[in-house]
């Protein structure tokens, strides 16, 4: 899947997100530890951040991810802000990127308009 780099500040909630295939993800019961070979860096993620990263699979957008985070954190938590902060951090670290969209795909519960050329 091709993907594009995005400015973390301008991430739209309906953009689908993916992670580089090169990330080495070590899953643990309360989070995960990521090795990022390109940067030779290690990231230690708590459970919420690990859920967000797992959902950056090219099929979920920011809204869908926030909904899953809300399910994890509970109804009173500021799930959307938490998820947005994590996504922005991931983008800044190069752990995720905006996925290229196939035309007409349904994400976040809505059908995306197909740009006609």
């Amino acid at each position: 899947m091709t993907a594009t780099k995005a400015d973390a500040r301008n991430l739209a909630p309906t953009q689908r997100l993916s992670r580089p295939a090169t990330l080495q993800i070590n899953r643990l019961e309360d989070g995960c530890v990521i090795y990022q070979p390109e940067q030779d860096r290690v990231h230690f993620l708590n459970q919420t951040a690990a859920i967000v990263l797992e959902l950056c699979d090219g099929h979920h957008d920011g809204l869908a991810i926030a909904a899953q985070v809300a399910e994890h954190l509970g109804p009173h938590a500021t799930a959307r802000k938490v998820s947005c902060d994590i996504l922005q951090r991931f983008l800044a670290e190069g752990l995720i990127m905006v996925a290229a969209e196939p035309p007409g795909v349904t994400v976040g519960g809505r059908k995306r308009p197909v740009k006609k050329v």
Binding site: G31, Y35, V42
Partner: protein, 274 residues
């Protein structure tokens, strides 16, 4: 004059024509049993040349010292370094390990956290102490590395029986200014065995000697982070090292241990391990 012993199955032979060196070789000789075997023999010689005590390996001078204490300490360091050379795929961690009530455990933490003192206390209470500084991690399994324990002067005040043993030993200049003694369980009439396997628990120590000890479960991600900070080698495949550490923490219990007074901390640790 020579002294032969075995470390992780490797035969270590130290030869010297210097009587004062020969008399000190027992201070650093390793008497740990392990079930490992190897064809490798590590041969070192200590000779005097031009006023220096020279340490030779395969005809090459590895180090030279004018002072006998410094030469013995250097010889000890070189032996450990050379013995570890064939273990390049194993991740080396700064940690101590012991067995209490049949449960194999590992203790990690920054220098000065109290690993050696706490494990010596447990050893005197009946635990088996395998090592106080280095463990090797391979395929998610630990192999204790039988380096002589470094007993620092602060430990002597806490453990009179250890002080009595060290009183008959030669003090060496420490690496951070203070003196240290080389010792091992056999000095206390106890067996010294290396052990390999999956630990039942890993404890991360934080010193707070003026507070009450406290033990609580530690998140596995946090323990992985702490262990990565205690790796003794930063070369090689970092991704593989991370995977090794994660495999270890995934397979055992993880605890944070605030180290308070020695007796109370040891009691808490034993209770957790029981």
């Amino acid at each position: 004059m020579n002294r032969t012993f075995s470390i992780l199955g490797q035969q270590v032979v130290v030869e010297t024509d210097q009587p004062e060196v020969g008399e000190r070789l027992d201070d650093i000789a390793v008497r740990a049993d392990d079930a490992l075997s190897s064809d490798r023999t590590l041969a070192l010689r200590v000779v005097q040349a031009d006023g220096f005590l020279c340490i030779l390996h395969e005809g090459r001078i590895l180090a030279q010292e004018t002072d006998l204490d410094a030469a013995i300490r250097m010889l000890h360091l070189l032996i450990n370094q050379l013995v570890l050379e064939p273990q390049s795929e194993a991740l080396k961690l700064h940690a101590a390990a012991g067995t209490w009530a049949g449960r194999f455990f590992m203790v990690t933490g920054d220098r000065g956290a109290g690993k050696t003192t706490l494990l010596l206390k447990l050893m005197l209470d009946g635990a088996e102490m395998h090592c106080d500084e280095t463990v090797l991690l391979r395929d998610g399994l630990l192999q204790t590395f039988p380096r002589k324990f470094y007993i620092k002067t602060g430990t002597l005040a806490c453990l009179p029986r250890v002080a009595a043993v060290c009183a008959a030993k030669h003090a060496y200049p420490g690496f951070y200014g203070k003196q240290l003694y080389f010792a091992d369980p056999t000095d206390f009439g106890l067996p010294w065995r290396s052990r390999a396997g999956r630990p039942w628990a890993v404890f991360h120590l934080t010193p707070a000697f003026d507070q009450a000890p406290l033990i609580k479960p530690c998140a596995k991600v946090e323990m992985a982070k702490q262990l990565m900070m205690q790796t003794l080698q930063l070369t090689g495949d970092l991704g593989r090292h991370v995977a090794q550490v994660c495999r270890l923490v995934a397979s055992c219990k993880c605890y944070s241990l605030r180290v308070g007074g020695l007796d109370a901390t040891a009691a808490l640790l034993k209770k957790t391990l029981a």
